[in-house]
């Protein structure tokens, strides 16, 4: 039973990841792309954290009441990844603001046409 739930868990995570990837690739609006990038990153974190869980274990904070802990290494990596993701988002948004000021639009099709016209 756990095996089936775990497999479905991985599949749903990959479904969410592909949803985020689709938003980044298919939509032209830059803010939607940034939100899609965030969705992609967050589902990758989930994919990373799921194998680290130990059934019957607890959060990796040492105390006398518990003996089995979940794996702390993915937590460390994902913590770094979240913070790097927000830095990327901030820089992306700054670029969106500047593009909007330079071209008047944030759809990449229209920016492409404006570039071709110049």
């Amino acid at each position: 039973m756990i095996e089936i739930l775990a497999t479905v868990n991985y599949w749903v995570t990959i479904l969410l990841m592909m949803g985020g990837l689709y938003i980044v690739v298919a939509h032209g609006n830059m803010i939607k792309k940034l939100v899609g990038l965030g969705i992609l990153q967050t589902s990758v974190y989930l994919l990373f954290l799921s194998p680290g869980k130990v059934l019957g274990g607890t959060a990796p904070i040492i105390s006398e009441d518990f003996t089995v802990y979940s794996n702390p290494l993915p937590h460390v990596l994902i913590l770094t990844a979240i913070v790097v993701g927000v830095a990327t988002l901030a820089l992306g948004m700054a670029l969106v603001v500047r593009i909007h000021e330079a071209y008047g639009t944030i759809e990449d099709d229209e920016v492409h046409d404006l570039e071709l016209d110049e």
């Binding site: 913070v83 901030a90 603001v97």
Partner: protein, 158 residues
């Protein structure tokens, strides 16, 4: 053109010290429970951002000026790298905190505390500086359209 924001103002004034206190709690209890520098930095920045959203960017700029932020952002990185170099100067490897205290364990504990403080400073001041940059842009954009508007209402993100 004051809308009915009296509830928001009162609630924010009550919540602001609670959020900052919670941020400090999370920062210094990172050793004994969940927490650490990143969570605390983001929470502290969120407190000032909340203040800036309700009372205007100029009010937030009076509380935490831009120049202070310019000094704080590299200060955190300096604290972190400085701790590593201090370990180097005292004879151990780079970022080895053992020689900082009387025993190896005390040195490590002290090193972790200092390093998390550096992380807290850089993360909170960075988030706040980013918010000021975007908010300042909004202020300028609105100022160019309507030069007769006052400064406070433009800070509120619609």
């Amino acid at each position: 053109m004051m809308r009915d924001t009296i509830i928001l103002r009162v609630v924010v004034k009550l919540l602001l010290p609670a959020i900052l206190l919670f941020a400090l709690y999370v920062q210094f209890h990172g050793d004994y429970g969940p927490g650490g520098g990143f969570q605390a930095g983001v929470a502290a920045a969120a407190a000032i951002i909340l203040y800036g959203m309700i009372f205007g960017i100029s009010a937030a700029r009076t509380v935490v000026p831009q120049r202070v932020l310019y000094m704080l952002i590299p200060l955190g990185v300096l604290i972190f790298a400085g701790t590593g170099v201090a370990g180097l100067l005292l004879g151990a490897n780079f970022l080895d905190y053992s020689p900082l205290g009387s025993t190896a364990e005390a040195g490590q504990h002290l090193g972790i505390l200092i390093v998390e403080l550096g992380v807290f400073v850089t993360v909170s001041s960075s988030m706040l500086a980013i918010f000021y940059a975007f908010g300042g842009r909004a202020e300028d954009a609105l100022a160019e359209e309507e030069p007769t508007d006052d400064g406070d209402r433009k800070g509120e993100i619609e």
